[in-house]
Symmetry: D2
């Protein structure tokens, strides 16, 4: 009989939509963890979540990070706070699951990487949950096995029914399409060499001076083209699609539809309004893998590192430059520290 | 801050394929439970599982049921032992998750029900895990909402690539198609009034005197027809399909394919060889719901009761009679005890 | 340079929906034919069609059949006139395309066959146009090639959005499901040995004493089961589907959808209200094949003969008996005349 | 009774694959036409076709055009002969169906247009047959009806299994992707304002110095983006796909599959090796519409004109420049002559 490691006590920073979903999932769906502390700038919101999961409310981020009842930290705060809080977790030596992006600004991302490299241990896991989606995993497995030859083109759709907080094209890149920037790197095992943006006529919900949908094209170091249609206000339905065109075949993600309905002379599937349903299981599996990894039960199953977070932010910022310039922009990654090899 | 109930300590009887899968899932994927004891007639097999999940090996079924370190029991033993072990769990007052079927023989099923009724509490949950499959749940939700009107016909396919332990037609009914007998009752909220069997020419793997595929037709108390194609040796692919033809529309389960592959002038999806992948998430959700229910966190989410198990066994035995007689057979359920209303 | 045979001059009896469609198709879409004469009991309707296609209006069926400007006759009159008019065409020695069914009453069908056998030449082609549908043809080609092994079950759906002229269950069999009775014989190359009917709860548009949908099950001489769901008032959409379950695989007709539309959080295809669109090309190809055959350019491409018409009427009448009796009914075909071998 | 116009006597220049297919279709599938004369530089090939369709073999292009037994001409010769032969037909006043492209070189295309404008009558129809494909027609009808709002992006795939006569990237544009250049103009009712090309890593069959697949992006005058993946050596399957992303929805061409096959744990459809099957019916309908139009029976149903041919050649040549330059290239159409308004 093997002794199981102790249950992981998790502190959560940020109890908005995704922080709350993580709190519930850790409590009700994940083995080996419980939420002991939460913090949110909105104390009432923190208290409500704390009550549901049987946790304490901390009075500050630093109080949470240093609480003796916290073994590991989950950061689900606004994007522009990620870097600072990640640095604090590193300073305290806390294993951390940090929601994407690592940081919207490249210098902040670099600072986190520098600190982790200085520490000499990988403590931070980036929340690119699509790596835990069974459909993407199956696609990667077949791609790696050479079933469709070499990838030449990867065509991605990422549509939301409504842009949160008003649409800004740069935000579409750094907050939403950043998922594709990570998952295509992961699928192909390649970095990006350049990027350009093609701008179709904007849809009717697009504010003046902004563009939506965006067509973004990365060329990888091996010459494959990664196309991303990022459409923030596609109110007709949420959708994520991915198609790999290889030299000997093609792979498409299935649509994952559970039910096909026929009525009134029409047969089809419903598209969701929101993304959480599509990736609910990926989030759960991501949390389970992180908990297992911190508890020493496995190796993290390919979760994203700070290096991956830096790569995605680098790509997003280059895309933002290409959006402004209208021309291809080169992408230069820094030297990869030994810690991430 | 709400106190969470204590972790549930589960003892598992039977560590074959499904018992082992449950042990791993309770340990690695389910919140609030751990496996403390296991028993199997094959002690080496029990020991291997025990080692993986950090449990003790018990020397007998009764030792496991009565172990003070066991709060609840999961029975995954051979079908013909289910009733006896369920009775022992009832006698010990242990909440129990019993793999389907309740019993292959109707009198055994009735004995378990009588004991539970005498006890006056529902302690046994039947492992009809399809009730926890998100696709079936979505189908039921739309059916209950009247989206396709009243169900007139439900057409089910249940194909396995190979019949375990050699094919016997009666076994196809009592062990495999029994899933459809439960899930269609649950979908429609109706009992069966009669059943008949139509026998197509047998496939080439069918032994003399047996039939495969079978076409089974139940008529429900409201007059709907439930068709089941049960095909035990459909080696070209495992498949479960369900189509509800309503008065105003139709519902079909999606095929759940994660990946569409194009190669060598063909585009399509792979069919699995085995059922575990198709229903892996349903099993996990079933276990989580059961653990939550025993811990008092929710109400069981419509899991099958002993009454449902009795209904399925009654239906399977009537289908077996119809297979022999070649004629429609009436189905008579006993009076429903108040405990199950 | 080969001389082409002269253009075929066709006389059409009956200018209802299908007769008019045939007249237009012969004139505008078929090579080597023109419509020279038409007759309809409703003279105004006949005149309108005649004007469109540049034909004469005949004053009677016999005048049309015997008109020296008519080389071949197309009969699209009401079902109960088919036999009498077919006999007149045989008497006049006119090649004839006769819309299905050969006759609703078996004795009439037998009389036509007897007359053709006595004549010693096959002059009559039955209008079972599905034999010319490219999808069914591809299915038959793969079935004949053994791609899915031996056919064990064939599952057919035949749904109309509204029963013409009020619903009578027997009419569903003899006028609508008769298409399946022919096409399954043709697909399998087998005759039927017996038939039974299972009656689901009727849909809401069903008059008292009638049943809709019907589930009809034929067993062929080799033991395959042919299932037909015939649903005359399935107002949610017209549909014809066919699925062959073989010993080594399965064949399904594609849905033939030309366009997939996504809007308002739904993605899918429209189902038609009427059958003409689905089989428009099959009708055209049937006409072309018939014209080519009569002109001596090819051999008719497997079009249905009077023998096939008799077999379909025999099957439909047995199904009607099974509908009344509630029991399986045996099907006995007469001896096949040498003319049809 | 209306007199029908006389049968159209067609002379065919070029009896390669497509010329032979047209000859057979005019003879066997099209109403109101017959092939009276053929010419091919390879006289044996011409003779073989002539024999099959009952036509004469002409000794030269001019002999065919001026033959008194020819009412109209179909040109299916090599691309670089199109302009010269079209000019000869114009000079002779012959209605002409000219296979695409109008000419590979822009100045030749302009010369044909100038001659037709000088003549003052539209005699030439361009063979962009996709305009007669029922699927594209249904797409256009829904787009014009505003069902998906305004078109923002149109995504096209055009894959061949093998490039004819060795692959040259410019040839992929001017001979193959020119179909998309026409059909997207027709779908959107818009001209192109600019074009750029993105070059993925070439597939393994690509000769040095050439690129395959190509990604071509047109921006229309209204700002919509038309994407074309042109893949000449996609040996894994022939495919044409089209997806319109609108402001309120999306339209996709159906895959047109007639048959879904399940075997050996795989379910799917076969992709063809060649294009003729996919567009066989469009070719037939194009020929019928052309014959009907020349015979004065209807107005041509939106067939492509010389102006459309010029627009497609202009687009293809701009794309060829963009392929060389690696930058966006502006597209300037000449003033549209009154003849084409």
């Amino acid at each position: 009989m093997t002794a199981q490691p102790a249950e992981l006590r998790v502190g959560i920073i940020g109890t908005g939509n995704i922080g709350t979903a993580h709190a519930m999932s850790l409590t009700r769906e994940v083995s080996g963890a419980r939420v002991t502390c939460v913090f949110d700038a909105d104390q009432a919101r923190a208290t409500a979540v704390a009550y549901q999961v049987g946790a304490c409310v901390c009075s500050s981020v630093s109080a949470l990070i240093e609480c003796p009842d916290v073994d590991a930290v989950l950061i689900a705060s606004p994007d522009d706070l990620h870097a600072e809080q990640a640095l604090a977790c590193l300073a305290a030596g806390r294993p951390t699951l940090l929601e994407k992006p690592l940081a919207p600004v490249l210098s902040d991302a670099e600072a986190v990487m520098a600190a982790e490299v200085a520490l000499g241990r990988r403590l931070i896991t980036l929340g690119f949950m699509r790596r835990f989606d069974p459909a993407y995993q199956q696609m990667k497995a077949q791609l790696d096995a050479g079933v469709v030859g070499e990838a030449l083109i990867v065509r991605n759709l990422h549509r939301n029914t409504a842009a949160p907080y008003g649409l800004r094209s740069v935000g579409t890149l750094t907050n939403s399409a950043i998922h594709e920037m990570d998952i295509n790197r992961w699928l192909l095992g390649q970095d990006y060499a350049s990027v350009q943006v093609i701008l179709p006529k904007p849809g009717p919900q697009t504010p003046p001076g902004e563009f939506d949908p965006l067509l973004v094209f990365f060329t990888t170091t091996s010459g494959a083209v990664v196309e991303i249609e990022a459409f923030a206000n596609a109110w007709f339905g949420y959708e994520v699609a991915c198609q790999v065109v290889g030299s000997r075949g093609q792979l498409d993600l299935g649509d994952g539809s559970l039910l096909i309905r026929t009525d009134e002379r029409r047969r089809g599937v419903d598209l969701p309004e929101l993304w959480l349903g599509r990736f609910g299981d990926a989030y759960r599996r991501e949390l389970q893998a992180w908990v297992d990894c911190v508890r020493g039960l496995d190796d993290g199953q390919g979760a994203a590192t700070v290096w991956d977070g830096l790569a995605a932010t680098t790509a997003a910022q280059a895309a933002a430059r290409a959006l402004q310039s209208g021309s291809p922009e080169a992408i230069q990654m820094p030297k990869r520290p030994a810690l991430y090899q």
